[in-house]
Symmetry: C2
Subunit: 210 residues, 2 copies
DNA sequence: AATAGTTTTAATCACTTGTTTAATTCATTT
DNA sequence: AAATGAATTAAACAAGTGATTAAAACTATT
């Protein structure tokens, strides 16, 4: 049997948690295939066999981490998108701010997500935001009203791609951006922070241009 | 010695070229680490040992393909960006159209490039568009004039990120877009083709909004 | 302290992977 | 046709990999 979960403890994380944290780092840095179980063991400071003792296999460990990421990703977004008390433009601002803050705190996430997208197509992509494509979302209702008022002719797909492209892409391409545009780590953070205000402005300009 | 290059021949590609083409496909589909030399051999329909016979090693083969991609990538862009006879807005339209056409023809390229960005940081990123960050580009000169006229307050980094984000990101996230937005392969191509006109319009709206 | 159950370790297994080898086939020249 | 060198093959090697094992160390309960 396994040791009790110990979730509330604030002291030293359990070895299970330490291995998971190490795996999170290594998988994010190198991707699934390039990560060796020995890398994770070394990074965690624990014996190689403990990886299989706690998680059965490399793949199971990866799936656990992946699911945690997805859950984290979706949970906050759902809160914003389903809030009756905010308007459509407010939701736009909140979404952008949330994504940028989240990505500034976890710069490795996009690489991680992309790796998933291009390797686990079916199994995973059904889970990704499976709660998100429901037609019940407050955001969708508000959008319908907005569109019905004749305020926009652009296809929703374009708008979503624009929002994500303007928000997420800089983080995906950050190594190249930093190098080719001579942007330091500090300056990159400053740029992204600026974009929290700018992206919603740009999105409104895009909507008005159609 | 090696068989003569035979570059002009239009008939059957040489086994060397066949292996390279197979490697291109498999590397693009699975990434470097997840690709086994046996996968490439099988995909090419040739014996495993021929891979090392022609290319010495898996890594050398990968580097050759990588360099070809980069060269292709840069060559066309340089042509557009350094053209004295086109205006700034025209360059914008040409760049977007070129990228979208190129990505529609080679949907795997972004994954390939991202894989490089996040694994070969130093060695490669210096080569990527090393010709591009020169201050001599016609585009840069034209931009300076445009900015000096007080037409824009936005930092160039934002503009470049927006251009690339609006253009390239949809291809990176295409598996998720297709699934979550219920877009078929055909519809995706149609959407991207629309964007050839739309992105320049949006970019101008963004520039005007600042 | 003895016991039982859990956690950790070192060693090893079985298999995969990149690469090499030695032999064979093929093509070209003499 | 013989000979030479290139192209191709089947087989194997050495190192690396995920996983397992059996023993040891640790922890708690009696």
């Amino acid at each position: 049997m396994m040791q009790e979960e110990n979730k509330t403890e604030r002291s030293i994380p359990s070895t299970e948690e330490q291995i998971k944290a190490a795996a999170r780092r290594v998988f994010t840095r190198k991707g699934y295939a390039a990560t060796r179980t020995r890398d994770i063991a070394e990074e965690s400071g624990h014996n190689l066999a403990l990886l299989n003792y706690y998680f059965r296999s490399k793949e199971k460990l990866f799936n656990i981490i992946m699911m945690e990421h997805l859950h984290l990703f979706i949970k906050d977004v759902l809160g914003i998108v389903n809030d009756e008390s905010t308007t459509l433009p407010q939701k736009l601002e909140l979404l952008v701010a949330h994504y940028i803050d989240m990505l500034l705190a976890n710069p490795g996430v996009p690489v991680f997500m992309l790796h998933i997208i291009n390797t686990n197509p079916d199994e995973l992509l059904n889970n990704v935001a499976s709660a998100l494509d429901t037609e019940q979302l407050v955001l969708v209702k508000q959008w319908r009203q907005f569109a019905a008022a004749g305020n926009v002719t652009l296809k929703p797909a374009h708008i979503i791609m624009n929002l994500l492209g303007l928000t997420i892409f800089p983080f995906i391409a950050s190594p190249m951006i930093k190098r080719k545009l001579h942007v330091s780590d500090q300056e990159f953070i400053a740029l992204m922070t600026e974009r929290k205000q700018l992206v919603p402005v740009w999105m409104k300009a895009i909507l008005a241009s159609s």
